[in-house]
């Protein structure tokens, strides 16, 4: 299979923040100087999977997978349950390791490192360094229940990036304002609704100034009335910053809104990829059509 290419897609990243009039900071402002800037080379491969195979026992979950995501692009992964979408994100998070093949992020190997010209399994420190470029938002939020909202957002910048405490708090306030939770700064996660928790989790991930944001069905654990608020925040981020996104979602209208490219997975392979217009309106593959009619 060819590595899908996104050269046919115009950049979607220059559009202005859509939060004007609300008094909220735009996502670009809240992310501050650390946000992946416009100066960054467009079109560079930020994430690259090369012949990646992942098995769990007899079960081949990813089968010789090749694809790449260019800097600043938003790619959505769709496909039936068990097709390997979460596995891709967990590989990027180094929560699991590929059985074969390599993954690079911003030109650096993940779970491998080069020693004397050879690829060897990477140590924890190497993985941590590469992973700092990646932020993840989980389906179940996974906020730290022992920390209030503000500290959930500042903890990693202070202790992992070594950011000054006051600076981290100021940035965190900006991000929490961006996700519309300023009045909840001083609460514990258990005192928030699921939708509010998920928005804190988005702020927490952004506080690390990642180049890539991974989103794994971030609204599917939410009550229906809370979904829109979370998706609005993500739309804002997608439209007003240059952050790269890899997104697994069943919210097809959201996927259509933000994606530069959609990858359709089935049984660990990409069976079709293309622009959202193409995939959602006129898919080539029968299984894509079948899948889409099942989720609509």
């Amino acid at each position: 299979m060819n590595t899908p290419n996104e050269s046919n897609q115009p950049s979607d990243t220059g559009s202005p923040a859509d939060s004007a009039g609300t008094g909220r900071p735009s996502a670009a402002e809240a992310l501050g100087g650390g946000a992946p800037g416009k100066s960054r080379a467009e079109g560079r491969e930020l994430i690259k999977f090369q012949d990646v195979t992942k098995r769990f026992g007899e079960n081949t979950v990813l089968d010789d997978l090749c694809f790449s995501v260019d800097t600043g692009k938003h790619v959505t992964l769709i496909g039936p349950s068990g097709s390997g979408k979460t596995t891709i994100l967990r590989l990027l998070m180094t929560l699991i390791k590929p059985d074969e093949g390599t993954i690079t992020v911003d030109g650096e190997y993940l779970t491998h490192e080069e020693k004397n010209g050879k690829l060897v399994p990477a140590g924890d420190a190497h993985n941590r360094a590469v992973r700092k470029k990646i932020g993840m938002v989980f389906q179940q939020f996974n906020l730290f229940p022992n920390m209030k909202v503000l500290r959930n957002v500042t903890e990693a910048p202070v202790h992992v990036l070594g950011m000054d405490k006051d600076e981290a708090a100021e940035r965190a306030r900006g991000l929490i304002e961006l996700v519309g939770l300023t009045e909840h700064l001083d609460k514990y996660p258990t005192q928030l609704s699921g939708g509010q928790q998920q928005r804190v989790a988005i702020a927490r991930a952004l506080a690390m100034r990642p180049q890539v944001l991974l989103l794994d069905e971030v609204t599917s654990a939410l009550d229906p009335e809370l979904v829109a608020g979370v998706l609005d925040v993500l739309r804002d981020i997608a439209h007003s910053t240059d952050i790269t996104m890899v997104c697994v979602t069943h919210e097809m209208s959201f996927a259509r809104d933000i994606s530069d490219r959609v990858l359709m997975f089935d049984q660990g392979k990409i069976i079709e990829s293309g622009s959202p217009d193409k995939i959602f309106n006129d898919p080539d593959n029968d299984r894509t059509r079948e899948f889409l009619s099942s989720v609509h």
């Binding site: 924890d124 229940p145 990693a156 609704s193």
Partner: protein, 241 residues
Amino acid sequence: MSWGLFENWILPGLWVTVQATVFSALLALVVSFVVGTLRTSRLWIVRFLSGAYFEIFRGASALVVIFWFAYAFPLLFGWQLVPLWAGVLALALTYGAYGSEIVRGSLAAVPEAQREAGIALSFTPMQRLRRIEIPQAWPEMVPPFNNLAIELLKGTSLISVIAVADLAFAGNVIRLSTNESAPVYTLLLVLYFLLAFSITRGMRVVERHAKRGVGKLPEKKSRSGQGDVAPAGGSTNGGGA
């Protein structure tokens, strides 16, 4: 039983029992955390050694360990410990082994998703332990630590066998000198009970504090704060501060 005996034996004995309990509890707490976290290590050799410590001290009689520190230790190392400290050390190592099981179990009960969230934010394993896993496991540890502290309090009476003049030792002295077993031992029962009771009261405060630290408010205030949907404006909950 005269006031003189009470003043000369019971009161100092009570003080020694309190000291022995506090010192060995603090030391046992350190042992519990060190051994308990080592037992969750990724390295099998670390798990093996800390697990061996747990098995050995769980299987050892506290009384024999006390004798060992009082009588064998000086012979082997040429260094005599003050009896109270020999007792404290022996109790801390023994009860610390039990405590390590509490720590290990509570750490294991922290959801895997929390570990993954820590990894996703690039925390080191030590940082995850210190900032995420231990703080979340701590409220779960307090009630079993309360039980263990009371067991330890009662266990301190064993150190009277190496001539530490604690409460049990005082009771024995008075019984031998006056033959008044009934009032003396009744008094001792009451005193041990009162000590145990104050431990429980103290631990209750610790537990409430610990629960508040993970956003679980004390029962009487918790109704409004725990629901899935938070009250708008936050005017109804206790604030958790």
